[in-house]
Symmetry: C3
Subunit: 207 residues, 3 copies
Amino acid sequence: MFKVSPKDEIFFDFFVATAENACRAAELLEELMINYVNVREKVKIIEEAEHECDKQVHKILQQLNRSFITPIDREDIDLIAKELDNITDNIESTAHRFNMFNVQSIHEDAIRLAKLITTCTKEVKALMVELKNMKKSKVLTEKIIEINRLENEADDIFRSAITKLFVTEKEPLEVIKWKEIYDYLENTLDVCEDVANIVEGVVMKHT
Amino acid sequence: MFKVSPKDEIFFDFFVATAENACRAAELLEELMINYVNVREKVKIIEEAEHECDKQVHKILQQLNRSFITPIDREDIDLIAKELDNITDNIESTAHRFNMFNVQSIHEDAIRLAKLITTCTKEVKALMVELKNMKKSKVLTEKIIEINRLENEADDIFRSAITKLFVTEKEPLEVIKWKEIYDYLENTLDVCEDVANIVEGVVMKHT
Amino acid sequence: MFKVSPKDEIFFDFFVATAENACRAAELLEELMINYVNVREKVKIIEEAEHECDKQVHKILQQLNRSFITPIDREDIDLIAKELDNITDNIESTAHRFNMFNVQSIHEDAIRLAKLITTCTKEVKALMVELKNMKKSKVLTEKIIEINRLENEADDIFRSAITKLFVTEKEPLEVIKWKEIYDYLENTLDVCEDVANIVEGVVMKHT
């Protein structure tokens, strides 16, 4: 029977903190895209949030190497930590593109995707909170299903945004820029789904 | 000495079923590209084949978590299942591009790559059939070499197709669209090669 | 206490040889880009260096499967081997683009990135030499920090190169070509950083 001892809780606490970091980066990205002013400064703050996330992941891996016994498989801890970091990496990469490409205004569809990312990272955080109580697997399963649903919703927005982009935008350089921005936004939601899938595997092993 | 018990065979049977699914998706993609009509409906059917494949992979992972002993390393089972799924994912992503990009007609080189994918997924299926009889490693090795050869052939077609694309296509938006379609087609064959490489590692461990 | 036996040294020797291979490929790429003549022949030689690297990795994996006990975790040996190969793969992919895209002359920023790749692969090789003496971890840590620093430097060059590209290059097809070349160059340095991060994890486990 699976039971988390107080000493083991540290991993789950670290996961929650790292997911909170991803939530914050997502909110900063959404705010940047909605209030599209002082872009350079706002990107800088997202960059710092990403460095914060790197440090969190480093702490998890250090704890992992110090721990003789772990509450879930070592490779799953490693994988969850890295994929949580990957969410924030993708958010940072998106933010950098607005500077790099000298983007002047933001597409509505991109804002819709950014909002989905904010919602989805919150679900990922809730998933991490629930992971500690794996046996209440009903809540966990609901979260996993919801993250998958959000990713499917994002896929539909992504595809129709790309179709629109090629039809309405006549300037090829703008198509190149926005295609890459949409790819990063959509990929961010894919990574959230990856986290959900890893957690689903962990739950399978423990229930 | 390596010996597959009847109970263990279930993993190999699942692998074969998942590879068959990839074969079917490949045939559907080839047919879509050769008879380029009713595109939306045909893409829908490929999308359903991909969902079928997701379910197969889910069954493999459930079985993996239920099994105390496995015929090959757990991480190899996990990896093979995920990479087989990845083949079908890439086929689906290619199919979606024809809709998203509102593609009007299909390049000959793209059809050549689609045919190679059909051939290569059949080899991957044969590889999965043979995996059960790992000790007859000669057949397995031949399949691995053949998949590598097909991937090299695809590389050559891919590279010359891209060169041609940039020389003959003057419309930048068309270049962007077709470059991405070629990238997905070539990547599908790369993933087939990844499966072959994983199997090669499994064979090394057991012979 | 961690101690490498003579028999175990073979893995570290293989790592050094594979990293040397990456260094050689990096030097060949830099030379190709600086003396941009006989491109087809020079790409061919880089392609051969990559095949050499594939063979090295194959030897490491064979040795791994023959070894009952390993000096560091099996999955870390596997991962280091594959990421070292990945460096050379990215160098080869960059080289191929000059042919495929029929590139006529080389951007200064791209040469700067190629030089960073040469420097960084040398650091990766030094890292592999030091890995054998893990307990002198100070030198290892310095190498890891230096590789991270080089990757950050490359990020800055990459971002400003992309900004420049979109501002100065009016021909969309040239933007598409150079954007992909810059992506490959930057990704090569990312993979060097991945190797450093894996080694950092290995050091954590053994000190």
